[in-house]
Subunit: 284 residues, 2 copies
Amino acid sequence: MLVHEISQVREHIKEWKKQGLKVGLVPTMGALHNGHKSLIEKSVQTCDKTVVSIFVNPIQFCAGEDLDKYPRTLQEDVKLCENAGVDIVFAPSPKEMYGEGHILSNDFLTYVVPPYFYTDKLCGKSRVGHFDGVCTVVNKLFNIVQPDFAFFGEKDRQQLIIIQKMVRDLNIPVEIVPCPIVREESGLALSSRNKYLSEDDKIHALALSKILFNIKNCYKKGVTDVQALSETAYSFLNEHHSLEYLEFRDENNLEEKQTADESTVVFIALKLNGVRLIDNISLR
Amino acid sequence: MLVHEISQVREHIKEWKKQGLKVGLVPTMGALHNGHKSLIEKSVQTCDKTVVSIFVNPIQFCAGEDLDKYPRTLQEDVKLCENAGVDIVFAPSPKEMYGEGHILSNDFLTYVVPPYFYTDKLCGKSRVGHFDGVCTVVNKLFNIVQPDFAFFGEKDRQQLIIIQKMVRDLNIPVEIVPCPIVREESGLALSSRNKYLSEDDKIHALALSKILFNIKNCYKKGVTDVQALSETAYSFLNEHHSLEYLEFRDENNLEEKQTADESTVVFIALKLNGVRLIDNISLR
């Protein structure tokens, strides 16, 4: 069932809670692909009721980013959700979420701000304020849906780690369920932004997963020096790639690693013909 | 019943929710007086179950403020609560609320940050970061207790307005119940910090309420010019008083008023022998 208003969602949730049903939330920005589908299926399996939110959240886009051209495919999204057994698709307007005529700055809006130690690195370095916008909207969605479980993809692993930190810090009564990255057979991690890629771009985009798989291979063979592991990346990069970062960090608190170990996650971001792509892999 | 652990509170709340009971929360820093008592009584009247939290929240004190010497009177507080029919007194340690060995800065902790337009004025001007600490701990308490109603005194009216704004902005499913200021017969607004005042100080402290009552009188007689109303204050001030602010602002969004009207609140803060006192009055 497609619902646009907060009050409608609350009515259903109230009824479900009365019946003691477990509620799962899958927060998305729509343009759903098989990655989202795996989160949704996990929720449908785990919970009595599943809510998928579809909201292209303006306050998590930085100046000059792709807010306006971000893919919006509501009809197909709703179909995918219905087929997967979703109970409510919650697709609010920006006005419904942030009120009318509001300036969406921290001058006039309460923000949930994750700690700088978690946001001043990786994607947060180039996307200043992005994770403030993410935490704020996720907090709002948690307060609207009051889920028992919420499902987040490991594809956006910095986001996942920051959400987990927020939940701990603010004692939010929601269990965060991390879901593994879904990849094409080629290795390319699924992403709504893959729609921006040409067929040629998609071939060059394989560098991300190749670099990560290769690093994990080397690690499993016994290489733990981060410098040495990083250097294996260069053979996969060419003039099409503009590498933003390749970093080795702790899976819980994003501390930098000098020596790779089981708790290490390797993060990569690069630009390809103006499209920014990210990927990551756990060495566990 | 006195409870120190978050998990214990959650157990009781879970049981109550199952029974469909309405829960009220009165968040305090302890050193309870008749002002708090009126909030507690309101909650006991309105709700099936009442939780009073007692927590001197370190992150809402600024450098150089009275965190260490803030009055702590847990035994008497618990007695007052029991007599008033409170079901749970929740008195966590700082470690229970913020974990051990944490640096309580926004480098390592998720904060709930109310909008600058609400916090860059009145008490927020001299107490930088104070309301970030307040909103963060109130958010945590809301997530722990999941109350249907929460009771806040109008004594700290900027705080009340900021909490109401936070609840709207983050869609928090809690109804905020404002409770009127309780005053001594002399007019002095009750405050835990009144314990810092000598008998002499208490006489000089009457300036706050006298100024406010006099302004309201003048307004009711037809004076609406803020400049003129402000000037009536000076006759009540002497060398013991160091006036911090006397301001006329909107009761909903704290916008400054040039002309007083029914939606105007008059805010005052002054220091008396190093003790900072605040008070306010609605002109309605």
